[in-house]
């Protein structure tokens, strides 16, 4: 009986082995469109880089907070925010107009800077304990892997454009028109199980409209 059981297990293992495919699909060609380029994707969605920069500022400040203690940290931050950081207009401007840091534009600066409340929104870019904020912001290492992963994990299924449209594609239907049901479903669904992944890929035309890419 014991032997029989043993043979049965060997047979089962053999069958499973024989039926299973040994080929491994290429993870990258399955996950990304063939012409995916992280920098190009980032150019369309600079907020992904802004998020990285803000993460770096938070991580840095978290360490400063640990070494100073919460009271000393808060005191230092308040002092810096209100004096050195806020009074250094040149730095604030450079931060604001950088598309990958502040995400603003030269044109918008005059209006933005007129209101102190707006300027205070830039506190989040302050590295506490240093005056080299701009240099440090620009030196935050670029993590292309995180940008690419975002496309796989979120962007693609949510219909994010991943490249600029070619001239021929400028006439393709827009996402709003072509995948109406999906766009609706995604905007309405609140629960995870309601989620409908977008099966298409999109490019963005010169006017900022996302259009379907036909394979």
């Amino acid at each position: 009986m014991k032997k029989l059981h043993q043979y049965a297990m060997i047979l089962l293992a053999g069958v499973l082995g024989a039926c299973s495919s040994m080929s491994v699909d290429d993870l990258y060609s399955d996950s990304f469109p063939a012409d995916f380029n992280a920098q190009e994707y980032l150019n369309l969605h600079p907020e992904l880089r802004i998020a990285q920069v803000l993460d770096a500022v938070d991580a840095y400040n978290e360490n400063v907070k640990k070494s100073l203690g919460i009271t000393a940290y808060n005191a230092a931050k308040n002092k810096e925010d209100s004096t050195e950081f806020l009074s250094n207009t040149a730095t604030l401007r450079a931060i604001y107009v950088d598309p990958f840091i502040g995400g603003g534009s030269e044109a918008g600066w005059a209006e933005f800077s007129a209101d102190v409340t707006n300027l205070k929104k830039l506190y989040i870019y302050n590295f506490v304990g240093t005056s080299e904020d701009l240099a440090m912001l620009q030196a935050v290492p670029m993590d292309y892997l995180a940008i690419s992963e975002q496309y796989v994990m979120y962007g693609r299924t949510h219909g994010w454009a991943y490249r600029a449209c070619s001239v021929a594609e400028n006439a393709n239907p827009t996402r709003a028109a072509y995948a109406m049901t999906i766009v609706d479903a995604q905007s309405v669904g609140k629960k995870a199980e309601d989620f409908v992944p977008d099966p298409y890929t999109y490019c963005r035309d010169a006017t900022g409209v996302d259009r379907v890419i036909f394979q």
Binding site: L54, D55, L145, A146, E149, Y154
Partner: protein, 727 residues
């Protein structure tokens, strides 16, 4: 605990037998005077049949004064050291059956110099063992402390050999060894379990033996001047086994010894960033063979034979340490950026400690071989033994348990509290210690009141008042519970600890101390040696004794540890020549007197051709004379001269480097010791001795903002008086 129960079970019989047993008590110690030996053995065999408890031991009361003088002492330095003590060693032996014996040895030590400080003087138990010969005398076992020896390449203790060592010195050396539970045999002090089986005669085979030994080894230098018995994370473990058979006067055996650092023991605390923990493994497998013609050719006036052994060793060290690295992890995160919810992938980087284990060093398959031919016999009252041998040991051979000598030297025994004029002098004497003659023959056993200032911790300040190390066990400070109790301390140059190969490599001064053999500092197991050895011993009717030794050995890689860029060791051939002759004459026996008047002397010289170009000359002379009745006169003289043709050493760094801070170039030391001994009872004496110790070190130095040559010398006058009683 089990033994205690057994003891109590026999308590009644013990009590009855106690008085009878002590009356007969004269346990067969290793050093029994020859004439009394057979009588004692008879008494012993009588005692062996008697169940119960027996107490015997020694009591010694004595005083010691050492007065030191030196130009290198500062003006406020203490120059005199006094010891006044009563030291009682109790040996309790309990026999639950005629086959087995529990042996406990206790030491009570009263130090009269600190008598008023003491409020609690504990008894130190320094030997605990359960021994026996069981199963119709086929199986011997030892449990607890034991002395075990296998072969010269496996488990062995290389001993210092001094030809015609006068009794006054031999006795002192034995006493210093005994304080560390050591003896003059080549067996090794261990604690654990040892079981040996002897078959007795089986057909043509005279004997089949099998032996198994398991022991815990202690390996740490800090123990040298600390309390004797405790457990430590430096403990390591030994497993030894051997089998052998004897037939027709021949013996063939296979021996194995393996020792290792147990990871769990070493890692009793969490390792921190600064720690690197090494785990050392060493194993040796050997085949030994011997032949003695006595068994097959008993009719010849001489017997001849051969002893030989071939061994292979493995040595490997791996280590654990902590590296700091960045760990990156990705998560999906959400942020509001310029008023817009953005889902992005956030990469989190954090510093993380990762524990790494790596192979550090490895030496596989080191080989060692020796063969000794001997002829011995007795022709018209002349006993003689002539030996000649060849040995060859690879540079990658390592056998730890056969290599560690018990003499470690380089401590200061007398006047350790002396103050020196400057850091240079202090450095010279702390590195080179007192003379090797002081180290070989003297020891101080002290009891000191413990307090926070001298209780040790691992903290940077070295004592319990210092900061506790970060990873230290909280029990470290529990040692303060010993506050104001009395602790027993040694100043003793002998130690039963074994040294790992890495430790030996670090401590190169050890093998430049010529009082340890220059050519074979680690006995026959000394790595990287090949050559011939010869020995002659002659004894004419216990009247005239003659010994001669001659060794010619070659070392291939004398620049030990130095490697070229390609990591190959530099070849520098070093030739050792060692010769020694000794002569002893008992004038009393020659003149037909009853009194022994033994005059002894020996001369030895050892040189090397390369490396440090060392040269050691040793002169020994002595007199042991029974003058009248119980009164004997003992005297001895020894002189060592050690020369370093290429400069000595300061630390484990490159030796020949002339820029080294302190280079010893010449050391001359001498000891004269003489005295009177009165026998008051068998093995009980009153003794009064006076000695002069001189130690002179010539150094070239470039240290402490001074450059030059100087001679540093210390002389000590020692007066010893004691009463020793054996009971």
């Amino acid at each position: 605990m089990m033994f205690n129960k057994k003891i109590s079970a026999f308590g009644l019989s013990s009590a009855i037998l106690l008085s009878a047993a002590t009356a007969f008590a004269a346990e067969n110690n290793a050093e029994v005077v020859t004439q009394q030996k057979s009588l004692l053995e008879k008494l012993d065999s009588l005692n062996a049949a008697v169940l119960g408890l027996k107490i015997n031991g020694t009591a010694k009361a004595g005083g010691l004064t050492s007065i030191a003088s030196s130009d290198q002492f500062s003006s406020e330095s203490p120059t005199q050291e006094n010891q006044a003590f009563t030291d009682v060693n109790l040996r309790l032996t309990a026999r639950p059956s005629s086959e087995t014996m529990i042996d406990v040895q206790l030491r009570l030590h009263k130090d009269w110099q600190s008598a008023y400080d003491e409020n609690n003087n504990p008894v130190i138990g320094h030997w605990f063992s359960y021994d026996g010969t069981i199963l119709n005398k086929h199986v011997d076992f030892n449990l607890g402390y034991m002395r075990v020896g296998y072969t010269p390449l496996t488990i062995y203790t290389p001993q210092t050999e001094i030809l015609q060592e006068p009794e006054i010195f031999a006795e002192k050396r034995r006493e210093a060894l005994e304080k560390r539970n050591l003896d003059t045999t080549s067996r090794r002090l261990l604690h654990g379990l040892n079981v040996a089986y002897q078959s007795g005669s089986v057909g043509v085979v005279d004997n089949i033996t099998a032996q198994l030994t398991g022991a815990r080894l202690r390996n740490t230098s800090k123990k040298i001047d600390q309390l004797f018995f405790d457990f430590d994370f430096s403990d390591r473990y030994l497993l030894g086994a051997r089998v052998g058979a004897d037939a027709y006067g021949a013996h063939l055996g296979v021996n194995y010894v393996g020792l290792l650092d147990r990871k769990m023991t070493r890692r009793s605390k969490i390792i921190t960033d600064a720690d690197t923990v090494y785990y050392d493994k060493n194993s040796v497998l050997s085949v030994d063979a011997s032949f003695d013609s006595k068994k097959v050719l008993p009719q010849l006036p001489v017997t001849f034979g051969v002893n030989g052994e071939f061994a292979m060793s493995n040595w490997a060290v791996d280590r654990d340490y902590v590296i700091q690295e960045k760990q990156t992890s990705y998560t999906v995160a959400q942020r509001t950026i310029n008023g817009k919810e953005v889902i992005y992938v956030s990469s989190l980087q954090k510093d993380a400690d990762r524990e790494v284990n790596e192979d550090y060093r490895k030496q596989d398959n080191g080989k060692s071989f020796y063969a000794d031919l001997f002829v011995k016999g007795n022709i018209s009252d002349v006993d003689f033994k002539v030996q000649a041998g060849y040995l060859q040991t690879d540079s990658n051979f390592w056998s730890e348990l056969a290599s560690s000598p018990v003499y470690q030297g380089r401590t200061t025994i007398f006047n350790a509290n002396a103050l020196y004029t400057s850091s240079l002098e202090e450095s010279v004497f702390s590195v080179f210690g007192a003379s090797s003659l002081e180290n070989l023959y003297f020891n101080v056993y002290n009891s000191t009141t413990l307090h926070a200032g001298n209780l040790m911790s691992t903290g940077t300040n070295g004592n319990a008042l210092g900061n506790k190390g970060a990873g230290d066990s909280p029990n470290m400070l529990a040692r303060l519970d010993n506050n104001y109790k009395n602790g027993h301390f040694y100043r003793n140059a002998y130690s039963g600890t074994t040294m790992k190969k890495l430790e030996v490599e670090q401590d190169k001064l050890r093998d430049i101390d010529p009082s340890v053999s220059l050519a074979l500092p680690f006995g026959l197991a000394t790595p990287d040696r090949k050559g011939v050895t010869a020995k002659v011993d002659v004894n004419w009717a216990d009247k005239v004794f003659f010994n001669a030794r001659y060794n010619m050995l070659t070392q291939t890689y004398a620049k030990t540890g130095e490697a070229t860029a390609s990591a190959l060791p530099l070849i520098e051939e070093n030739k050792f020549t060692e010769m020694a002759v000794g002569l002893g004459v008992d004038i009393g026996a020659i003149a037909g007197l009853d009194n022994k008047i033994l005059l002894q002397g020996s001369f030895s010289r050892a040189t090397e051709s390369a490396y440090l170009e060392r040269q050691a000359t040793h002169i020994v002379a002595g007199l042991t004379a029974d003058v009248w009745g119980p009164i004997s006169v003992l005297a001895g003289f020894q002189q060592y001269n050690k020369q370093f043709g290429k400069g000595g050493a300061r630390s484990g760094l490159a030796f020949e480097d002339p820029t080294q801070t302190i280079n010893l170039t010449d050391a001359t030391e001498s000891l004269i010791l003489g005295g009177v001994r009165v026998k008051i009872a068998p093995m009980s004496y009153i003794s009064l001795q006076y000695g002069i110790l001189n130690n002179e070190l010539s150094c070239f130095y470039n240290a402490f903002e001074a450059l030059g040559n100087n001679t540093f010398s210390v002389s000590k006058n020692v007066l010893l008086a004691d009463v020793t009683v054996n009971f």
